[in-house]
Symmetry: C2
């Protein structure tokens, strides 16, 4: 029985935590190891995925045990797979604005901005976080696609004075309710003073690392941008030594927690088939003032007409489902009105929490729908994200 692996779904025991099993990942140089991989593997990682051609740990004990721990204590995550694409040169702000329909005119040095990247049709190519380090030096902390190729193609095509390069920076995330305590023990009081989505340089072992208050969970925490390999293991070890009494453990982005928190995943909940408006990213998509964005005209048109579908949460009733490997049809009667793209049993909500996309006319919270899961037909209720305890 294996929630990762729907071919065994028929044998699944309702509401029992899934065990770990299924095909192994064949690891090679192409599925890049990270400066933390030795520590991750010595900690007994049980599941990996591949993200930006790089290993990303997914499971240490089980999805549910890791979830419970993340919501109670503090975890250290090897998110080296969040590769940093450096834009450097006099045209780097111009290029950044070509990439995204978010208005970047007021971004400050040391600020992080979530900024979807779109092509000339308004289709999402990636949903990175932009980090402005200096007027002529930005980092793009990317989701799972080689969006640097798009940026470089535009820069070469338009003869911009900017270099685009993936640099040797490996983010390490510290996430969970005790993250502030742990970080201040290792980096001093400066860590706790960092505001949400702001970054500052903090010292560790005589070297300054950029540290931001951010991360792919709703439990609070930080991301440390570790440059080079030399201090990666010393930093990992320092966090585990300093956090022993905080019950620190290794972890990774947790499927259950991120669905509860409404954190979208590029490749899962949104793809090139979608626009930022369809993904509810209206707050990060302002084509009216994003002058220079390649997708501006297409998105201005969509802003006027409104998107034809929207991302929503769905609370799926009944027994535990297998995990979602391919979109699950959502219906009202015989009419297909959308699809589910991520789903996981939530111990805290007592339902299967899911993220999907609903067609216009059917996305109102409270709408009752049917979801065709590989485990059978289920009823579900549409809701807003993040999920809120009722």
């Amino acid at each position: 029985m294996n929630a990762e692996h729907p071919i065994d779904a028929a044998n699944a025991v309702p509401h029992a935590a899934p065990s770990i099993g299924g095909p192994i990942l064949s690891i090679s140089r192409r599925t890049r190891s990270t400066p933390f991989s030795r520590r991750v593997e010595a900690s007994g990682v049980r599941g990996y995925t591949v993200y930006n051609h790089t290993l990303l740990p997914t499971v240490f004990e089980s999805a549910e045990a890791d979830y419970r721990h993340l919501k109670s204590h503090v975890q250290v995550w090897d998110v080296s797979c969040e590769r940093q694409i450096e834009l450097r040169g006099p045209d780097c702000a111009k290029l950044a604005q070509m990439l995204t329909p978010r208005d970047l005119r007021r971004i400050q040095i040391g600020q992080c901005l979530y900024a979807p990247v779109v092509d000339e049709t308004g289709a999402i190519l990636n949903d990175p976080v932009l980090l402005k380090l200096a007027e002529d030096r930005w980092w793009v902390s990317i989701a799972d696609s080689d969006v640097q190729y798009w940026a470089q193609g535009l820069a070469v095509g338009r003869c911009l004075d900017v270099d685009v390069a993936e640099i040797n920076v490996s983010p390490l995330a510290v996430q969970g309710p005790k993250a502030d305590q742990l970080m201040s023990r290792v980096f001093g009081e400066g860590a706790e003073d960092i505001r949400f989505f702001r970054a500052r340089w903090l010292e560790f072992n005589g070297t300054s690392f950029l540290v931001s208050r951010s991360g792919y969970s709703k439990q609070g925490g930080f991301e440390i941008y570790v440059e080079g390999d030399a201090l990666a293991e010393p930093l990992w070890d320092a966090l585990f030594t300093a956090g022993a009494d905080l019950n620190v453990r290794p972890g990774g982005p947790n499927l259950i927690e991120r669905i509860e928190g409404g954190l979208l995943s590029y490749g899962n909940d949104m793809t090139r088939e979608n626009t930022p408006f369809e993904c509810n990213l209206d707050a990060f998509c302002t084509p009216e003032t994003a002058f220079g964005c390649i997708g501006r005209s297409a998105l201005l048109r969509e802003a006027e007409a409104g998107p034809k579908r929207r991302i929503r949460g769905l609370a799926i009733k009944g027994e535990r489902t297998p995990s979602c490997r391919e979109p699950w049809p959502v219906r009202i009667g015989s009419e297909r009105v959308g699809q589910v793209t991520s789903a996981a049993w939530s111990p805290d909500f007592g339902v299967t929490v899911a993220i999907g996309m609903l067609d216009r006319g059917h996305w109102e919270p409270g709408t009752e729908v049917v979801v065709d899961t590989p485990g059978g037909r289920r009823t579900a209720t549409v809701c807003l994200l993040p999920f809120e305890q009722v």
Copy 2:
């Protein structure tokens, strides 16, 4: 013990075939399943990798059992991960030539060309096979990077009249010495008449599929470009029914066989750190006449100076090594002269066959070197690729 997983290398038994174990792959919508995945999993796939955001089966029985079978019989491979990027429109030949330093002026309709894609510095971004279907319609059968973003960025940046899109085509490979027999049973005599790296439309169940004589092994065979999902499982089933007495089995690109055959792997043996000349791709890199190629000037300079390193084979003596997850240093005395990037024990050669890169002055066949593997220091002999039985 697990050759995929060097942390267990210290316990490895010399010359024993490795068993399958290690972290599982967490599968989601983002690691795309294919139209063949249900058949692949019903066949008991034991190892996967992720390639172009898509599942690629790597192991069914064991690397060595799969290797022996591939060299003796016929296998069916789900290589849907070789995504097809379609270039369509009046400027598609112009865009194709911008991408590659191979002279494309003489490519004919129905011809396949292996053509490295480079950026403006001559760095390799991908090493696809180009397929010319019509004057205004080309397919780019890509290796593991989102090179469509580069092509689209250039097309938008330069205002070319060409669309760039990943299309719903899932290649299925038929590889091995009995591939001609099996293909002619399913597609008729037309299959056997296809010349190497040529493609032709053949009928299956009333639908025409493009079929080429090509594939990522040296055992001979075909690739069938399956459009859409509807006929994928019927085609898989027809091949297994027709091939029962040929001992047909599912398989995938085999590490041992592809190293013996000198087939390079993008992300393993070559990366953006390299140029086509460094990768011995001189026959596919002719910047003198590749007018319009974005990397032409850089590669013309390198053609004059000669590359500073070259890909070579290495025969590594002694006990079985773990698999290569990160480059292994190659030395002569205390001087570092190169690195190994792929390695596997070859039952037929009785040594560990490897692919690596040697600095100028040290790449002559017969050069004796030392390789620092995770299993210990080994002596090795530099050789040309493919490996040849002595």
